[in-house]
Amino acid sequence: MLLGAHQLARQRRVGVYLAWWAVLYAAADGCFELLRGGSGSFGPARLLAGVLAVALVVVAALTAQRLLAKRAATIAMPPPMSPRRRLLWAVLFAAIGVIYGATLLSQGGPVPVIVIIGSMIGGMIGWLKTTSRAPADPAHALPLFALMLALFYVHVGEETLTNFSGMIATITGVDWNNHDFMQLITLSGPIVWFFAAWSLWMRQPLGNFVFWFLIVGMILGEPTHILVFPVIAMAKFGIGYEYFSGMYTSLFPMIPAILALVMIIRDHRQSKVAGPA
């Protein structure tokens, strides 16, 4: 998918072919889900599946429209944000952080809270200092965002295969079952990442904040698989430094995260030198 997107960005035929394939696949999958869900009892799970199926069809139709138009869309730079608006966004992100932190604390104990909410706080500081004033250029930011997520899900794959939630439960004492872990990482997560990608494309604060959150999380949060979790296990169980779930791939998403950080800081410095538009 990433290679296809790369080829599409360069307007090569193989990229266009893969994009059409994705469009038809998404439309067919959405229609199939809608037809399959037409029978049986109605409930919240079916409603969610229906909404997701409709979303797939709508996104497929929009992508097809864009491919037929054979031109890239451009989003104009928004006017600078007022201090009041910046404050409101910061309060909104902080409130989301509190709610998300509460969920994590209940399900996974204090260790995931420190890693993830710490990344959110770091991301918010980064966003306030840089992209809240001049949003990241989507043409440069989105490929890195997509690459970061692709490598993150390779890492999640390792975690899933090696019982991450169970291993975290053994070191924190909080029972984080695999169902809740999967629901958070493979259902709620992608919904947020999808809207964040769209928001980043639109140069909106939400997308820019999530971009920063991922950058900090991948640089400072993911190394905990190597530096923190195994050490806690050593201290708790009196064992040596041993494998901890997700350890091998935890540093993969750090590579695009560092590139994204460099890009943001470079662009921020350039915009400061250039002065306000």
């Binding site: 309060v91 902080a94 409130a95 509190v98 709610i99 509460a102 209940s106």
Partner: protein, 186 residues
Amino acid sequence: MRLATTIALSIMAVPAQAHGFGGSGWLHPLTGPDHMLAMIAVGAWSAQMGGRALWTVPSAFLLSMAAGGALGFAGLNLPGTEIGIALSVLLLGTVVLFAWSAGWPVAAIATLIFGFSHGMAHGVEIHTHDNPLLYELGFLTTTAGLHVVGLVGGLLLLESSRGAMFLRGLGACTVVAGIYFAASGL
């Protein structure tokens, strides 16, 4: 009239149902879409009214929720709590849909009643938890967070060109959800 109906139905009540929140106070408001929608709608309605409503209306909800939770823990089990919660979703969605500027005293009294229903639903579950105080603190913190999300999200939407209409559209979606919850509870 709607307010009177809510009062009557909130008082007639049946024991509240859990939402698969694993016995955690923090998670209870989040795992029940009825709770979550009502709490966000309280914030959104406050944003639409502005002024003193920005803090009095969510505070009234939180205070009565704390009282409802404490009374639920003390053993008071009023019938009709679930239908009261469903109606709170329906009515809060309605006021957001029509951007009803009720004035902060009326809005605060209305949310006192709604908050009590939600508090009762949380309070009867406290017995399942080891630390009742932590449980109550948990659901109040999460509720406050949801109020802030609704309030600040509402203020941000109202600043954008078509935000007011979008917010009213979200109110309409909340009404639909409220009808669904009410129909399920009857």
